[in-house]
């Protein structure tokens, strides 16, 4: 874990630029020694990592001579989502095949499911797998993606003491079936998702805004929403000028 929390140490590539100054004093114990020591081992990341690790423990390399390493760090990107293997997962992967992926990031497990699976999969989770407590329903907006919204259910099971997430992606304008028939918590949580993102849930008993006043235009948590648009609109209507800025 040391690699992630440090500011980027130089990779081999940095040395390939042939910069005369030592990219980082911690690369080698004798930092003043010329770069040629570095490019010798092409891109053996593991070796470099070992070197880094040893040099970390060597206090003598406390860089009196550190200068900023040159750019283009291909540092290790940190923890990546790993596939999540569990009997629970296998069961549903058999059932739903490609519509369902299961991953685990930093120890937290989640499913990524197709939109078509939605009410059924959640119902199965509640009925068969005892995920009887819906912790949260929320959404994230990625405007540059084709399927712009991530809708996430966070579920918890008392018996298993396990918390999972179920994520699905939908496009702008698509609606989702409501999970209110499955967990009653969904009532206000889905209203808030609608209020903030504009995602409607079909079958919801009372699909209307919850936090914002009724006549509000726009969905604030979308990335393309700006408070300025409200300001401009008001100013144009009431004061007759283009913009108040």
């Amino acid at each position: 874990m040391v690699e992630e929390s440090k500011t980027p140490a130089t990779p081999p590539e940095g040395a390939k630029t042939g910069a005369p100054t030592p990219p980082s004093g911690s690369e080698k114990p004798a930092a003043e020694v010329s770069p040629p020591a570095q490019p010798s081992s092409g891109s053996n990341v593991a070796e470099k990592a070992a070197v880094l690790a040893t040099s970390e423990r060597n206090p003598a390399t406390s860089p009196a001579t550190t200068t900023k390493p040159p750019a283009a760090p291909a540092k290790p990107t940190g923890p990546v989502p790993e596939p999540w293997t569990a009997p629970l997962v296998e069961k549903y992967q058999h059932q739903f095949g490609s519509g369902l992926q299961a991953q685990s990031y930093l120890g937290q497990n989640y499913f990524i499911v197709d939109r078509s699976l939605i009410p059924n999969f959640l119902k199965l989770l509640r009925d068969d797998e005892q995920f009887d407590y819906c912790v949260d329903i929320t959404a994230v907006h990625y405007p540059k993606r084709e399927k712009q919204f991530d809708v996430i259910w966070i579920l918890y099971s008392f018996e298993r003491n396990e918390r999972i997430r179920v994520k699905t992606m939908i496009a702008d304008g698509e609606t989702l079936p409501s999970s209110v028939p499955i967990w009653a918590t969904g009532n206000w949580l889905e209203r808030e998702v609608y209020d903030m993102f504009g995602i409607k849930f079909e079958g919801h008993p009372d699909m209307k805004r919850i936090l914002l006043p009724e006549g509000w235009k726009g969905f604030p948590l979308r990335k393309d929403y700006s408070i300025l648009q409200q300001d401009k609109e008001w100013v144009q209507i009431n004061l007759g000028i283009e913009s108040g800025q």
């Binding site: 912790v135 929320t138 966070i154 009653a184 808030e192 936090l211 948590l221």
Partner: protein, 391 residues
């Protein structure tokens, strides 16, 4: 735990809306009356509007209108760096600000995959439990006041002052403390911290007994709170209710024990539960929680380890791309933070899962069939803070 069937259709009462808009139906039967407990009301603990449909004195249904205190905290988070957003979270549940900060810091630390050092954990636990006691004291004072006992308010506020003095000495603020930082604590404990906390524990134990003496066996209190606002365990789980409300309905679940964080596994404490899920049980559960918090504080303050108070966290916090959900047991329930990072210095999305918001949903079920005077008692017993409900 026995079979708990989660089936909203089997809920004893349904969560239906009041249907004020349908033109065909007459709004007012000869017996029905729609009354507004407006945003400005001495007993709604903030700006909350409750529309009641009454049949004489009995409540047939309610609808809560919230959002008067909505400040767009989640949107703000997308425009601040991780460390800059830290003070904002205190302002949500402003009564128990330390917990909010703890939840957020833990979530971001999880995203960064660092752990706060042991000393920081102990300091965090002590301050968080002090904050739990303070929050419950404020709850008790205001709840008793709504039911008509005006004296416990002054007693609890007077005793809460001592906690606020400790907070002030530690981090400079009484209310919105911003006590923790991402990676640990910024401030060392001040000279005399342990002694003052120990003195406080000695000071407040008899005070809690005093509150109990005033209320627990009082005939009028019993009549006002027993069998008022009952919610069964199944309904509570279906509605996502957490915290003392869930525990009073019989579900023995506390995040500090179920999914311990911040070193809670090192401390011994009990989880109180109730039997009937009525207001009286919630009162008892919170009183016991106060005492258990004292127990935790005593264990922690005697054994704060030496060491650093801040983990190795980079100056510029740029978590790798990913998303994380972390929740803690705040005084009001499960407070969760869902943080999505896109690799930059500003969070891509911060979602706060507020316990009061979800608990308030249960108000409708809890007051069906009760009298108007009980609505006020039930709002009080849910322990909602509008800052958290609306964010």
């Amino acid at each position: 735990m026995n079979e708990i069937k989660n089936d909203p259709a089997a809920l004893k009462h349904e969560l239906t809306n009041l249907d004020l808009e349908t033109p065909e139906k007459p709004h007012l039967d000869s017996n029905e009356l729609i009354i507004n407990m407006g945003p400005q009301h001495p007993a709604t603990h903030g700006v909350l509007r409750v529309i009641l449909k009454l049949d004489g004195e009995k409540v047939l249904g309610t609808e809560c209108v919230i959002g008067y205190l909505h400040r767009g905290v989640e949107k703000i988070a997308e425009n601040r760096t991780y460390a800059m957003f830290n003070p904002y979270v205190d302002r949500m549940d402003y009564v128990a600000a330390v917990s909010n900060g703890l939840g957020y810091c833990l979530a971001v630390e999880k995203l960064l995959n660092v752990e706060a050092p042991a000393r920081a954990n102990y300091i965090r636990v002590i301050l968080t439990e002090l904050n739990r006691i303070a929050s419950h004291q404020l709850w008790l004072g205001t709840h008793a006041l709504d039911i008509g006992a005006m004296t416990p308010l002054f007693y609890t506020f007077r005793d809460r002052e001592e906690i606020l003095k400790i907070f002030e000495k530690y981090c400079g603020a009484r209310l919105t403390t911003h006590a923790f930082r991402i990676g640990g604590c910024l401030y060392e404990t001040y000279a005399g911290f342990e002694k003052e906390v120990k003195n406080f524990v000695q000071f407040v134990r008899p005070k809690i007994d005093e509150y109990e003496k005033l209320l627990t066996t009082n005939r009028i209190w019993l009549e006002r709170t027993k069998n008022v606002g009952v919610i069964s365990a199944e309904d509570a789980i279906a509605l996502g209710v957490t915290g003392p409300v869930l525990r009073a309905s019989g579900v023995k679940w506390d995040l500090r024990k179920a999914q311990p964080y911040s070193g809670y596994q090192n401390f011994e404490f009990e989880i109180p539960t109730g039997e009937n899920g009525d207001t009286y049980d919630r009162y008892l559960v919170r009183m016991v929680e106060m005492r258990q918090s004292l127990r935790i504080i005593e264990q922690a303050v005697g054994a704060i380890p030496e060491g650093p108070i801040m983990a190795k966290v980079p100056k510029v916090i740029k978590p790798p791309v990913g998303e994380v959900y972390h929740s803690i047991e705040a005084p009001k329930g499960e407070l969760g933070y869902f943080v999505v990072s896109d690799g930059s210095t500003q969070p891509y999305r911060v979602r706060v899962r507020p316990p009061s918001f979800v608990n308030l949903q249960a108000l409708d079920i809890m007051v069906r069939g009760m009298l108007v005077a009980d609505v006020v008692a039930v709002i009080g017993t849910l322990d909602i803070v509008l800052g958290e409900v609306d964010r």
